[in-house]
């Protein structure tokens, strides 16, 4: 496997709490790698640490270079897109302004964004804070797709969405995975089954399983033991 991202001995403290206790995993170039685990085990913190949004120690090698000490904006400029857990759209800015703010490339991929989310074109002048949860998720994903990123970190994109929208997000992720490598934190195993090639399971701040997603999801006993479902 050619690793685009290699994480080793990643530690994060939030106050007195030792959230990540030496996380190790690799992300293959291409496809979707899902990060799974029960609530509160450190999945979101892992993505935030990779982005430099949480203070971390350890090693994060992306595309052959160490980025563990690199500031967030430089990590992004090296081709890493981020879709945060709570969307974090700028509520006071219009949809158009949210997208314009995310532009980095000379030719932002508005054709792709409008192809995937035609609704955003119609709502360009609408303040993002007045959009529904699903529409805000579209904006959050669109911001990351606007530039030609090599790696996308997507945190629970289906959280709080209606079943119809969950299917829509899964369709978008499938399409995105054809264009770029995706690290996906996701609780919905149906979505994981549909889009993920690899799976990494985290428990209490450590990786407890890594391997093909299909093998993990086929083993109900393992899923039950690691994720508490099934």
């Amino acid at each position: 496997m050619t690793a685009l991202l290699s994480v080793s001995d990643l530690h994060v403290y939030l106050g007195e709490s030792h959230i990540l206790q030496g996380v190790d995993f690799e992300v293959a170039d291409g496809g979707v790698t899902a990060i799974l685990g029960r609530n509160g085990v450190g999945k979101t913190t892992t993505l935030r640490a990779l982005m430099g949004l949480a203070e971390r120690s350890g090693s994060v090698v992306y595309d052959g270079s160490e980025i563990a000490a690199t500031p967030t904006h430089r990590i992004v400029r090296r081709g890493v897109g981020y879709v945060p857990e709570d969307r974090d759209v700028f509520a006071g800015l219009t949809v158009e302004e949210n997208l314009r703010l995310a532009e980095r490339d000379e030719e932002p991929r508005y054709d792709l964004v409008h192809d995937l989310f035609p609704e955003l074109k119609q709502r360009a002048k609408q303040p993002a804070g007045t959009l529904s949860g699903g529409q805000q998720q579209m904006v959050a994903i669109a911001r990351a797709l606007l530039n030609d990123n090599r790696l996308l970190l997507v945190d629970e994109p289906t959280k709080g969405l209606a079943p119809l929208l969950v299917a829509e997000v899964a369709r978008v992720l499938e399409r995105v995975a054809e264009l770029t490598t995706v690290v996906l934190v996701e609780q919905n195993l149906g979505v994981v089954q549909r889009v993920a090639r690899h799976a990494v399971v985290i428990d209490t701040g450590r990786v407890v399983h890594a391997g093909p997603a299909r093998d993990l999801l086929a083993d109900q006993a393992l899923v039950h033991r690691l994720l508490g479902v099934g």
Binding site: M51, L53, P71, T72, H73, V76, R77, Y82, P84, D88, F90, A91, G92, L93, E97, R100, L101, A102, R104, R143, N147
Partner: protein, 293 residues
């Protein structure tokens, strides 16, 4: 009637002065979460830069001296503020207690430095003749410097609104006020916006320094500190981080101060502003406008 008109225009002029100081304070807090107690020092530096430049141009006519002095004040204000951000504030992001200590210390040190160089006494500041004359409106003789104050505040408000709405840096600042971390997660080095916002705040405060020289006809070392207190009240009433809220609050504070001083008792103006602050905070804890611009 003429008294009421005079009080109203004077109150609006005073509110304009407060807005010029408070706008920078509000933007700095909104974007960076920094309570800049050194903001009064920006005003003092601007006011003295203007007076000093004017005093060195003795043979020149008053108008060009005034304009050149004002220009120097704005440049010095911008450079001083940017330097403060780069040298003192940048190493202390997210360390709020240290920020307060450093900015309070800088404010005190600037005043002490000015006193040690030019003394405690107020110095007279020459201004163009027209500013010392009056214009009659509805029977009230309005000092012309009030119009200049109001016009300057309107230009700054319009300029800031245009900057925030029509430029990329304005977009970054508006987004940064909402969620700074997410701005960096879009690949933007938000620290540049920090320096720019400080420089803008420095220009506006220096302009307030220039106009306070005109309003009071003098410059003195305590000017920045005394006006800063009212600017903070304006920012809190307006809603931290809200430019329009700051403008509205500046008008209200300026008018209340003038009306209370005249219709109640001289000296009650300051007290009434503090009471107003308490009332607003009780009714709307996040100020008149909890959101940004």
């Amino acid at each position: 009637m003429s008294t009421f008109v005079l009080l109203t225009i004077t109150g609006l002029g005073l509110g304009a002065l407060y807005f010029l100081i408070a706008s920078g304070l509000s933007l700095i807090y909104g974007l960076m979460g920094v309570l800049n107690f050194a903001h009064g020092a920006f005003l003092t530096v601007g006011a003295y830069a203007m007076w000093f430049t004017e005093s060195k141009l003795n043979g020149v006519a008053v108008l060009p001296r005034f304009l050149l002095g004002s220009l120097v004040a704005l440049v010095v204000g911008a450079l001083f503020a940017a330097l403060v951000e780069l040298v003192l504030i940048r190493p202390l992001y997210r360390r709020h207690i240290e920020q307060v200590l450093v900015t309070v210390g800088l404010g005190l040190a600037t005043t002490a430095l000015v006193v040690s160089i030019w003394g405690n006494d107020a110095r007279s500041v020459p201004a163009p003749t027209w500013l010392g004359e009056t214009t009659t409106v509805l029977g009230a003789h309005i000092p012309n410097d009030r119009w200049l104050l109001i016009a300057a505040a309107l230009v700054v408000l319009g300029g800031l609104e245009a900057f925030l709405r029509r430029t990329r840096y304005g977009l970054i600042i508006r987004a940064g006020v909402e969620n700074r971390a997410m701005v960096t997660a879009l690949g933007i080095d938000v620290r540049r916006a920090f320096t720019l916002v400080f420089a803008i705040g420095g220009v506006a405060a220096a302009l307030a320094g220039v106009l306070s020289n005109v309003y009071f006809s003098t410059v003195d070392p305590a000017r920045g500190t005394s006006l800063l207190i009212f600017a903070f009240i304006v920012v809190v009433i307006g809603g931290l981080g809200s430019l329009r809220g700051t403008a509205a609050a500046a008008i209200v504070v300026g008018l209340v101060q003038q009306y209370a001083n005249y219709y109640a008792s001289t000296g009650l103006g300051d007290l009434s502003v503090v009471l107003l602050l308490g009332l607003v905070l009780l009714a709307r804890p996040r100020g008149l406008s909890g959101s940004f611009a």
